[in-house]
Amino acid sequence: MDFEGQKLSEIFYQYTILIFALISFLSGYILGSYRLMMMLYGAGVALAFVISVPDWPYFNQHPLTWLPASSRPATPDPVKSKRTEPNSASTTTLSAAKTKKKNRKG
């Protein structure tokens, strides 16, 4: 499901449930049956579930287009760079101490 589809799914179930809540409450109150209200509302929730929870094709109308892959990696390997540059901006004194320990061992 793409991002537009997710938005659509949310709109679908919210409107379906709210409309069924209104219909079922009014018909239950007018006809004097709490049971009828619950049955109608339950049917509405089931319908909303079927409409908006499974990944239907109409939720995938706007697929994301990615940039083409370049020949060499854009950023260096983060694990590798940490090891070689222990005193970069993001490292703390703790990690610096760790590297020191490692060096002593080696």
Binding site: E10, A21, S33
Partner: protein, 192 residues
């Protein structure tokens, strides 16, 4: 909203919240529900008034109950609990409330009570020897139990129902209440 389970969770949460609001609205509609009850309770007969060996008084009563409680039912009513109680004061207790009879009414069709002769289901035993000549308030109360929302109460008081000033003699029918038919011919089945 990226996965099946996430969407199902979001939908059911929204549905539950909406249902809670519907339940609140339903209990608000009960405020505008108009009731018109017609209730009468009479003491049909004092079958026995006796003192027990432990020093307390006990009365065996029979009532005539006529009540039309159909209008208490709204669309949000699950059932009615109706009970009859005797209220009186004694030197020992400023207020005694003794439940004598009750009934659960689950349908509007059953809400018309026509009971010409109903005995007390629960014993009326005083704490002491104060029942002779006592003026008792008979109260018919009801709880309107809703499907959702607030429990409502109602009651009608029938004041100053006089009990006899002397104990009844013990010579008539000691197994009176275990017999199928009372000695004045009323069937027990009619007094459920």
């Amino acid at each position: 909203m990226h996965s099946f389970v996430y969407r199902a969770n979001a939908l059911l949460t929204f549905a539950g919240t909406t249902l809670a609001f519907m339940a609140i609205l339903a209990t608000i509609t009960d405020v505008f529900h108009k009731t018109d009850t017609d209730v009468s309770v009479k003491l049909a007969r004092v079958e026995r008034l006796q003192f027990l060996k432990n020093g307390n008084d006990e009365a065996y009563l029979a009532f005539e109950i006529n009540a039309d409680l159909r209008t208490l039912f709204s669309w949000n009513t699950k059932q009615l609990f109706v009970f009859l109680a005797a209220e009186y004061s004694t030197p020992q207790n400023q207020l005694n409330q003794v439940s004598l009879w009750d009934r659960i009414i689950e349908h509007e069709d059953d809400a018309v009570l026509k009971l010409p002769y109903v005995r007390n289901k629960y014993k009326l035993i005083d704490q002491g020897r104060n029942l002779r000549g006592k003026a008792v308030n008979l109260t018919l109360s009801w709880n309107i139990m809703p499907v959702s929302g607030r429990l409502q109460w109602g009651r009608v008081v029938f004041p100053d129902v006089q009990l006899p000033s002397e104990y009844t003699s013990m010579d008539h029918s000691p197994n009176f209440r275990t017999m199928g038919v009372g000695h004045d011919g009323f069937e027990r089945a009619a007094t459920l």
